[in-house]
Subunit: 300 residues, 2 copies
């Protein structure tokens, strides 16, 4: 089933202990789409400026990523500059330029309105809400968020939470949103607001899937060669949602498999800058590492 | 098969957000023994002062913990005072009094010399070494260590590492010992020094078991009610070694099961101060939570 994503498309400048890149293809919707398109056709909704390089748009179009919803408007593309140091656990943001993203009024193309699976990537909650209002009866909606919106737009974020089926967020965000230091308590308290399913990302430590029935604990894949963590969370979400859209049905079983695929895709993504690693990835690579990973987590 | 442990026996004063206790039974060898005795008879080697409360010794004797090797010498018992705050991830040590531990010359009783399974709990590497020299051809020796010895006694610690089969240590210690921020690389580099098996403890995030053949990833049990994390690592090690001693053979399969039992025992231990939770624990409780945990980590 087709999968719609709305989120940022931008130019990233990133420095890690393993190198430095300037104005490469980035943004939450880009990482998400690249990860998800291995499993299902992706419909991308977002905005770029007139300076967005043509070859980046071509890169997207070569894939099963429909860019009909990628508007180009007068002005500069969204830009992010960040640095990872030491163990690369978190980025230091050196500069953010919202540019065209600041005055973006999302319009979901008519051909996208029947999307059954929808992902609201990290962004202004009111923007997430306006996209959701346009879709006609989606089957499964998931969203991501970040500390900034929890601090600045909590009321609007809570409105979004009431309308979605799943929230994908990291451990610190879960604690921040709920005030519970304990992740299980935090996840339960988010469930009480609305979303039936919570996926708490713990970076290299894996993820916890919380369903109405229970918890599922997934260790992280032990990546030995992390070059650039940018997009890890978005590619994880892309793997999760892509697999669910492929299966066309959300159950505890498909969700568990989806979290495994998300983990695998994210582990590849961090092995190179931008979408370079995902761009040379094959379904065989994914299935191979998934088998390897399943052997590592099989304890009985 | 009988399991010998050498380590500290002491009086802990601990403060956490959930309460405060003064001079309760503690020490690495105590937590280890309590966890291990559910699986195999434990032989404890350690030292206390003349002020060690009689009822603590009685508590130990009531269990399958042989205290023949627990010497009492003139002076005060080892004491530790610590505080856990916020998410309780790590303790702040407020005071340590080595007392009788400082001049302790470990003597393994004659009836303990045939111990097949040996655990050298965290302590001065030269003391670990002197215990090991006394045992006659043990089948399987594991050790723990800590940041202090890595900093202050690295040469002696490396000598111990050459003589043991397994090292159990936490993630930060693995990084500190090897200089590798990546845990898999760190574990491999410790293997190159000597121990065939490395178990890297990651607190609430679980553990990684590294064998000559590969890695096994074990998430942490999502404990909702952490009251006092003291002894989590020692009770984990006790569960691991206790189970191995019970099975009497160390293979990749028994090790994987052992890590599961270690995880379960540690998850109970942190639910109360001192050894209180372990003291009212039954084998049924352990097997029950193990089944529950296995369901949480089953992804296929």
């Amino acid at each position: 089933m087709p999968l719609l994503v709305v989120g940022s498309v931008g130019l990233d400048s990133v420095e890690t202990p393993h190198g430095k890149v300037e104005e490469v293809l980035g943004g939450s919707a880009v990482y998400f789409s690249w990860a998800a398109h291995f499993f299902a056709p992706v419909r991308l909704v977002g905005v770029v400026g007139t300076d967005f390089p043509k070859h980046f748009r071509e890169l997207l179009s070569k894939r099963a990523i429909d860019t009909t919803g990628l508007e180009e408007i007068e002005g500069k593309t969204f830009r992010w500059r960040g640095r990872y140091q030491g163990n690369m656990h978190s980025a230091t943001t050196l500069a953010v330029e919202l540019n065209v993203f600041e005055r973006y009024e999302p319009r979901v193309p008519a051909t996208f309105l029947d999307s059954q699976f929808v992902f609201l990537a990290n962004g202004l909650p009111s923007l997430q809400q306006r996209v959701l209002e346009q879709i006609r009866g989606p089957e499964f909606v998931a969203a991501d968020t970040m500390n900034h919106w929890i601090n600045e737009k909590k009321g609007e974020l809570l409105e979004v939470l009431k309308k979605i089926d799943a929230l994908i967020l990291n451990d610190e965000e879960a604690r921040q949103l709920t005030g519970h230091p304990n992740l299980i308590k935090a996840a339960r308290s988010i469930q009480a607001i609305g979303p039936k399913y919570i996926i708490v990302k713990k970076g290299e430590h894996g993820a916890i899937l919380v369903t109405p029935r229970g918890f599922f604990l997934m260790p992280g894949y032990p990546t030995e060669h992390v070059k650039d963590p940018t997009g890890a969370g978005d590619s994880f979400a892309g793997g999760v949602m892509g697999y669910l859209a492929k299966r066309g049905t959300v159950t505890e079983e498909t969700l568990k498999q989806a979290v495994v695929y998300g983990t695998i895709i994210a582990s590849f993504n961090v092995e190179d800058f931008s979408i370079q690693r995902l761009n040379r990835l094959t379904m065989e690579d994914i299935e191979g590492r998934k088998r390897e990973f399943e052997a590592m987590v099989r304890f009985h």
